[in-house]
Subunit: 206 residues, 4 copies
Amino acid sequence: MEKSARKEREFKTRRADILEQAEKIFAVKGFYSATMAEIANASGFSIGSLYQYFESKDNLYSKMISEKLDLMHEQVREKVKVASGIAEKMEMIVAAHFQFVENNEDFCRLFLRGENAAPSEVMTSLRQKIMDGYSQHLTFVENELKEGIKRGILRPFPSRDMAAVLLGLIRSAAVDWMLFPKKASLLSRKDFILSVFLRGVQQNET
Amino acid sequence: MEKSARKEREFKTRRADILEQAEKIFAVKGFYSATMAEIANASGFSIGSLYQYFESKDNLYSKMISEKLDLMHEQVREKVKVASGIAEKMEMIVAAHFQFVENNEDFCRLFLRGENAAPSEVMTSLRQKIMDGYSQHLTFVENELKEGIKRGILRPFPSRDMAAVLLGLIRSAAVDWMLFPKKASLLSRKDFILSVFLRGVQQNET
Amino acid sequence: MEKSARKEREFKTRRADILEQAEKIFAVKGFYSATMAEIANASGFSIGSLYQYFESKDNLYSKMISEKLDLMHEQVREKVKVASGIAEKMEMIVAAHFQFVENNEDFCRLFLRGENAAPSEVMTSLRQKIMDGYSQHLTFVENELKEGIKRGILRPFPSRDMAAVLLGLIRSAAVDWMLFPKKASLLSRKDFILSVFLRGVQQNET
Amino acid sequence: MEKSARKEREFKTRRADILEQAEKIFAVKGFYSATMAEIANASGFSIGSLYQYFESKDNLYSKMISEKLDLMHEQVREKVKVASGIAEKMEMIVAAHFQFVENNEDFCRLFLRGENAAPSEVMTSLRQKIMDGYSQHLTFVENELKEGIKRGILRPFPSRDMAAVLLGLIRSAAVDWMLFPKKASLLSRKDFILSVFLRGVQQNET
DNA sequence: AATGAATGAGTATTCATTCAT
DNA sequence: TATGAATGAATACTCATTCAT
């Protein structure tokens, strides 16, 4: 039926609209201080309608977080995929992350604030989902680095630890950029981070 | 007066007791889900008494966070102070942080969760305090690194960025350790982090 | 729209129901001892619903007082308006007040108790509103008396003072009636009050 | 024992001090918003000490009100006692009340506010006490007026009603004076009130 | 399907009173 | 006797969720 297809499409669009507004509000107020009424209002729906798209406030928040996080991982992977060569792939890992942060600053600020909180079932499962997603992402990065080790470009450190270090460096640059606002774009710090990661900060002994 | 001195001492002890219990409860439940009644109960005081030591729930949380953070910064600085030589100082920066995280895991988990949230006055001032403390700490680390640059031990990168990188590496190792529990102590990762920071991950070109 | 009109009507009815029950409870217990739960219960609404009709307990109390007071003033004025001649108008002023007191004893007892209290914003504004209402009412009575002075029926006392005296006499009769319950209606004291007001208590010298 | 006599004296002095401060605070904040801590502080005693002089907050308030009211009644009676002749006695009734109000404005404002509230035992008994005191006072005034009726100076109205009217006029003048602050003293309105009471507001027919 | 009024459980905070010191 | 820290009952208000229309 054509009808159901259009309905389906509309459903998704509206769902996305809600998610978009919710993200903004959660970013400003945090999970607890944001209210369903507020989100309903901002997205132009009634409170009741919100519950047609999401089971609960927890669920709305969870979906918002996890879907966006998935998007980030996906974006990173896609950009890395089209890159050729270890060096370019590593550059893309950093660049893609930075681009996502710049394009989704509100969302990322939510993580400065944290608040992946609450002891509820749903929230616990969110935390698990976040960790799983992170774990997979780590594995993805790890595999790229392994290639570098194999080719003798990278030192034979444990690849998982190296991946954690790379993501840690990316994260710390992003946090620093959000915490202490600067004129320069986050992306402009890409080379610095890459350089530190690749060559270390130690003066060449010669 | 002896009397007032003892009272003073008792006051501080009890205040610390409350803070200690509150930390545990906040760590498990988060700021919003933890209740004053729970904290009162856990610390063996009545609800009313809590308010003799702290103005409000916000205030209790703020004090708990900021005092512990101050303690961390202080502990790091003291350990670095007694170290001699750039290398040893940098080692101490990493070691002292790791030790603190191991000794205060509950507290640190609070930061995984984040939740330095709430749009209230008190919480806003807490966030400012956290940022100020971090900023000062960054400056402290930066000054140590500057010495290293001056002596030609470290590459002439912007010292502040290098400091941010070092703290970022420390943080990412700590987060990784808390997120994916391992048998090995966090401290055992010190040399790896230091090595990465100092020599980088790039294979020596030969 | 028919719908919104009915909604509107229902809203007003329910609001009035709450006000009516609240009046009784406040009359018995006073502002502070009355609880929102009690009022909710008595009016057959949930606690939450009370807050859909009134912003706060203070607000509920304020509206109840000021709307009823407005009603009293209005009723007095309407009855006076249809009266013809100074004598009849003055009679109506007394009669209308007494009728209101008899019909709204609970409400009036609230004023024996006073309790237009509380240092809150809302309550301060209530007190101002009460005074303003009283002031206007005084002016209304004053204008009627001025007519009597102009026609040489009343002694040329300051009209405002005379108005205050008349309302004072009305009030004292009402208070006496409420304080020391008697079989006779308050209205039956109308002629006495009027007589005292007009001719005083002094024996005619002859 | 001398000692106990001094103790007794001290006790009364301190009790009076508390009552004095309490009156001020109650006048400003009302019964419910005033706190025992505040009263303790203002009167220079500890909270615990307050309870050595008064059983409870209700009791403190009750005693403050009833003792001051007794004082008012007493002062009026004494001044009336030394007056000679009906006219002078009636003048004194008005003058003595007005003087008390001027000398105890804070206290009297408490009655504008009312708040002889609370459904507690103690408060109920206070209300009874106030009514009894008022009733006795009314009887006292009534007896003076009876004398006037007997001597043919006053119209043969029911004496109790006349007394209520006189006290009502006094009250309304006092309330008006407190509600709408004026430069003139309250006492300066004595003759007006007396004149209205005696001769009414009606123009003499001549 | 959409609405938004109604619900009521849940919680921070206050403050009269007590009692150990 | 005096103190004031400790107590905990009491209560206004919020907001996620439901469901009648």
